[in-house]
Symmetry: C2
Subunit: 502 residues, 2 copies
């Protein structure tokens, strides 16, 4: 057994080294690679992926994993979990015919360009045949992977958030429909004449960068194990707990964008940095799931980053940075502006309150496709109908509707719900955090160290060595419950907009 484990660790080390090389190359691609280097680079990536694939599908590796799996009860808890997951991954690979899988990857490599073109031309017809092929592959994919325990659309949901099913999400979104949609409509009506105190002003990009650097200190981002850089779209990446990187984007006319992107990405980054380093180099490295990751980024961005307490502490620093631009904007006005609610068509620009309704719409549509067999010809109408139902607005164009997101063009059906689940998790976690520590007191201390520590102990340290549902249950003593999220939103926005929360 000891020899077998050593053999496993030896092969894992090789696979991880390829992962590392590809991480470095992709970081470079996203942040600074010259435009003309991508053709040659593509070939090199191809070879490295192939080398790694050769190891992952080698008889030796498969045999070692199968044997360890058969004797999994003799393994410690960490390795047990890892082997179960690796075995799941290998079995999945075995069930899908290689030629079909390769054809799908080739399709995906082209589909994002086709989607981008269709979006630009505001014409769904251009993307329809490709989307049809993607859906059709995913239906086959589901058939290949179905078991007695997990069937249909659940296969896709489980892919992105282990353990989550249609039942779980239905319960979640039904609550949103019942309690949140009517409330949102009230707020939107009230917010119609809101004034933005930041619009029309120009904020020097260097000044924005300096303030984001200040935010790194406030959030205790560990600069010796990570860095902040620029890219077109903000994102977080890394390799283990000792190298975690995030990017930001700066718009002179939009100060909010850089501030809250930075805080959001640092939520992701802190999660990665605070994973126990014993998981570095294993397959249990990094956050436990997409929704747990999103729960951290949304917690820092919205619950902490858009709180009054946070800006009571830091607004004066921002004002000093932009003394001319912000001299006539009071803390209260700033606070109202960063929490302004607005019915908007674009998910990525949505405010905290309306955000999850955008996700709900996408979930409804995916379910219609994979459960109810909705025809692709009816997709656009369905989107527009649902949008009117949830937001009371008529979608003006398909690029502001069905074509706005890249996810489906990347084959990612089942992904969207994790965004909403993450937001909901964050409110429930926040509820229990406040029982253990004086949230506003910590913020008043000038940095978020004690909050980070709490999250590290309760969630981060476990990396992905356990299932997200188990981490949550152990952290707060109960299972997921959407009511915390709805209560949090109704309480915050009732207060902001003077609405009777009944």
């Amino acid at each position: 057994m000891k020899k077998l484990i050593e053999q496993y660790i030896g092969i894992r080390k090789r696979i991880k080294a390829y992962e590392y090389a590809l991480y470095m190359i992709s970081w470079d691609s996203e942040t600074e690679a010259p435009s003309g280097c991508f053709e040659y680079r593509g070939e090199q990536i191809g070879v490295l992926v192939e080398e790694s694939y050769r190891i992952e599908t080698s008889e030796e590796y498969v045999h070692v994993v199968d044997t360890l799996y058969a004797h999994r009860d003799e393994l410690d808890a960490d390795l047990y979990h890892e082997i179960v997951e690796v075995k799941k991954h290998i079995d999945k690979t075995r069930k899908i015919p290689m030629d079909q899988y390769v054809a799908f990857q080739i399709l995906l490599s082209k589909s994002q360009t086709i989607w981008a073109d269709a979006k630009k031309k505001n014409n769904f017809e251009l993307f329809k045949p490709t989307l049809q092929k993607i859906i059709s592959f995913l239906k086959d994919y589901i058939r290949y992977l179905e078991t007695d325990d997990c069937k249909g659309y659940n296969i896709l949901l489980d892919e992105y958030e282990p353990g989550m099913t249609i039942n779980d999400y239905d319960q979640f979104f039904n609550e949103l429909k019942t309690r949140l949609v009517p409330f949102v409509k009230k707020v939107i009506a009230k917010a119609a004449n809101d004034e933005s105190f930041l619009s029309g002003k120009t904020f020097d990009v260097d000044g924005q960068k300096q303030f984001c650097s200040y935010l790194q200190d406030v959030l205790c981002f560990d600069r010796s194990h990570g860095l902040m850089k620029e890219s077109e779209h903000p994102f977080t990446t890394g390799s283990g707990s000792t190298d975690v990187r995030f990017t930001n984007h700066y718009y002179p006319k939009n100060l909010q964008s850089a501030l809250f992107s930075a805080i959001h990405e640092m939520g992701h980054a802190l999660y990665e940095q605070q994973c126990d380093s014993k998981y570095d180099g294993t397959f249990s490295t990094g956050g436990a799931s997409l929704s747990l990751h999103e729960s951290q980024s949304r917690f820092y961005e919205n619950i902490l980053g858009r709180s009054k307490a946070f800006w009571e502490q830091h607004y004066s620093v921002l004002q000093r940075q932009f003394s001319k631009e912000l001299q006539d904007v009071s803390l209260d006005e700033f606070y109202r502006t960063i929490n302004q609610v607005k019915a908007s068509f674009i998910r990525t620009e949505a405010d905290e309150l309306t955000y999850s309704l955008h996700i709900m719409l996408r979930y409804d549509l995916e379910k219609a496709i994979f459960v109810e067999g909705l025809s692709i010809d009816d997709l656009q109408d369905k989107w527009n109908d649902l949008f009117f139902e949830y937001f009371g607005l008529v979608v003006p164009s398909v690029k502001e509707g069905l074509l706005q997101d890249i996810h489906w063009a990347g084959g990612m059906f089942g992904y969207f719900p994790t965004y909403a689940l993450g937001s909901a998790y964050s409110a429930q976690i926040f509820h229990y955090m406040k029982k253990d520590l004086d949230f506003e007191g910590v913020i008043a201390s000038g940095n978020t160290k004690a909050i980070n520590e709490w999250l590290k102990t309760k969630i981060h340290q476990f990396a992905s060595s356990r299932y997200p549902k188990d981490i949550i249950r152990q952290a707060i003593g109960e299972d997921f419950d959407v009511s915390y999220y709805i209560d949090y939103l109704i309480s915050k926005y009732s207060c902001l907009y003077g609405i009777n929360p009944s």
Copy 2:
């Protein structure tokens, strides 16, 4: 044969992909990686090197190369040259006992730290035992690789500059001793009271960056196939002609440093960018040798970058960038300052005229060690004696003498002479360039396009598909001749310092 070549190309593709991954990682290490990531990174690099080594020493690869080598007369010229070089590399690996090679690599991995410590403490004794071991390994190394055609120190010289021997370098440096050393002494005496018009001023780093960006346009550096970034020590790197990167370093108190580092590195970078792209992905990619590379960087830095014609064109732009700092510095004063001669102890700070004397001293020392059997105990005295002979100065401390360079701590004996050879090549190339084009006219056109084109046609395009001596012979119609270099220096500095050039 066709099948064999395909097999070779298949394996080469794999080896090149590892090289690419390691290039990306090392670029990141040099320019932005967080300090705490290096331990984990070291392990990943180790695995990737091992994976690549496994392929390079595989029976399959060795067999393919051996067979192609046996039938090399059936190959086209490019592949012929490549196979000869690869075969040479493999044979070398075969001749050195693996355990001794590994022990040497481990020694080198520690020696640079030991050297740095000894330099810091200004104490050669701390480094002596390590240096002794390095020299002793290299003496074994020479014995393993000696053939009837190539013996002794020539083995090391050939390693860094294919085809160059003690005879060649002796001839070269003897000319310098006879003609240049006396001239340099005259100039140094005259230059003793020179005034620097830039010293004592502060040049804003952002302004320096902007001007270096302007220089990229002037030198026609192709931004779609490369980029400029910052690092502690300027360097150039890349992978093929489509991805060539260089770095610079900015000192507020030293404007010259950034300007001439940028031009120097762009000399290297242009060479790489202008290689025929058909060599990308082969082992004939990139510049043909260290000295040919240095001939390009020194050409751009010194012959072009420190010429009057160049600054007649661009000094007004620099003055606009630093209007306050340079308002009282005339073009003539600026030109004199960037060409100021000064006897100095540190090679990397040396001016164009005295630079090669620093190299000559190192060559003399290496030859004394490997040819004359100089004892390591006499090394420091020998350094100091030679320094007095060439510069007329007494070396004040070993950190400003024998311990100043990192090369020997890295096992790199035989490397230094390529620096001087490169400078000398550049003057000879320049002589022939002027026969084909109006050098000053091109510079007056605002950019160096026509000069770049000439170098591309004559030298760059061939990448390393031929030996440097052959490239030079074809480019200018004759072999290397040091007199062009000495003539160039004497003519330029006689004029600058009002010395009778006889």
